[in-house]
């Protein structure tokens, strides 16, 4: 039983501490990522040629660079230009910008699925372009984007484990430290895996709930 005691007394408290850090990374990154994603998606579909180009370039870069490389640039690269971020801040910036690039694709797809007639009807009533997008297009498009964006949020939960690469010691980082001290790699990483599984399951349920709450006739998901 020494094994169980050790895990209960030494490993778990440390992992829970890491879990706390992970959650503190995930929640702000998820929020910023979504906001960025919606904004970029809108610019790509409804922007002028310049903002459309800028937004597309942003997506190309942040989807194209490996996330670890982006984090290294934010944390190790920018100090050479005199810009310093804490590991925590650098991680959030990295995650938000990367997540935003992916979200924007889901949002863009959803925006394109809204029929042109919706736009015409709003314009015919005297809506401004911005008013049309905010009051008519986005409320419909976001409902359609939700499943995709939810997928991205689940990804975010897992790629938050990269933060330890730039010394922001979250769940995976903690685990790696304890594991290399104790050589109990299998046990510790199994536990960590389960932690992530629990987080993604909870997030999945939450997303299902949100989808359910926002469901309105004409936008329901058919099937089982």
């Amino acid at each position: 039983m020494g094994e169980m005691d050790f895990i209960q007394n030494e490993v778990l408290p440390s992992l829970f501490e890491g879990l706390g850090t992970s959650i503190l990374l995930i929640i702000p990154s998820a929020v910023f990522g979504l906001v960025i994603g919606v904004a970029i998606g809108v610019f790509r579909v409804f922007g002028n040629p310049l903002t459309e180009k800028l937004a597309s370039t942003y997506v190309a870069i942040f989807r194209g660079f490996p996330l670890v490389v982006q984090l290294f640039i934010w944390y190790f690269g920018l100090p050479h230009l005199g810009i310093y971020f804490s590991p925590y801040t650098a991680s959030i910036i990295g995650f938000s910008l990367c997540s935003g690039a992916y979200h924007s694709e889901y949002v863009r797809g959803a925006l394109l699925s809204i029929k042109r007639g919706q736009l015409l009807a709003a314009q015919a009533l005297g809506f401004t372009r911005t008013g049309t997008i905010v009051s008519v297009i986005l409320p419909q498009a976001l409902r359609r984007a939700l499943p995709g964006c939810g997928n991205e949020l689940i990804y975010l939960i897992k790629y938050s484990s990269l933060a330890y690469m730039i010394t922001c010691i979250e769940l995976t980082g903690k685990g790696k430290i304890i594991a290399s001290e104790t050589f109990k790699f299998t046990e510790i990483f199994m536990i960590i895996g389960i932690f992530y599984l629990v987080m993604t399951t909870i997030a999945g349920r939450l997303l299902q709930y949100v989808e359910f709450r926002l469901e309105i006739p004409g936008f329901e998901h058919y099937g089982a």
Binding site: G117, L120, Q123, G126, Q140, P217, G218
Partner: protein, 253 residues
Amino acid sequence: MSKPPVLRAENITKRYGKKVVLNNASLSICERELKILIGPSGSGKSTFLQCINFLVTPDRGRVWLDGREILRTHKRDLNAYRQKVGMIFQDFNLFDHLTALANVEIGLTRVRKMGKEEACEKAMQELDKVGLRDHIAKYPAQLSGGQKQRVSIARALAMDPEVMLLDEPTSALDPELITEVLAVIKDLRANGMTMIMSTHQLNFASEVADEIIFLEDGIIVEVGPPDKILYEPECERTIQFCSKMRELYGNSR
């Protein structure tokens, strides 16, 4: 009889690529008049109506409301103008994420900046007028085509427009539902709403129109009172079109 026109559109021209869909079309309408555009599909009726409120940008042509020219580059003027010119679409274009009531309210609250309560009251009145008091809480997906079109009429009326443009308002409806929408339009007519409408319902046109405009290939071929255009047209093409439509839909006389 020399009242100044409420709305005037002059020399509207629209090209898509090389194809001229609307060629120098002009029209003016006085208060309480109903003018009806007829013509084969693809003749430019929709384009003409959509050019009038600049949902389609004409390549050339000018539009006046109440004697004031509308410059579409002045966004604020354009939006104010569009509030005064209601538009009804062939496929309704109700906002799919909003209930019937909210569809009518949204223009009032977001565009006219009316208070929520006042907007709700007005929206209820407008929906009542088109006979939909019992359906205000339904979403577009739960309404029949005729009901959707009536909601869209209520939505346009709520803005207190001076003129209404109706782009084939019954073409997406099956025959039974057409009647309920036409009845609402007749009501509007009786209450003195100024309207420009495109339609294939020649019987309806002959009953209510002040003037019929026959359009083909983007050109206004013939204009005149219903009796003349429908029964004694001058142009060969108008004769052909009207007799074909009568074959399809029966003679009103």
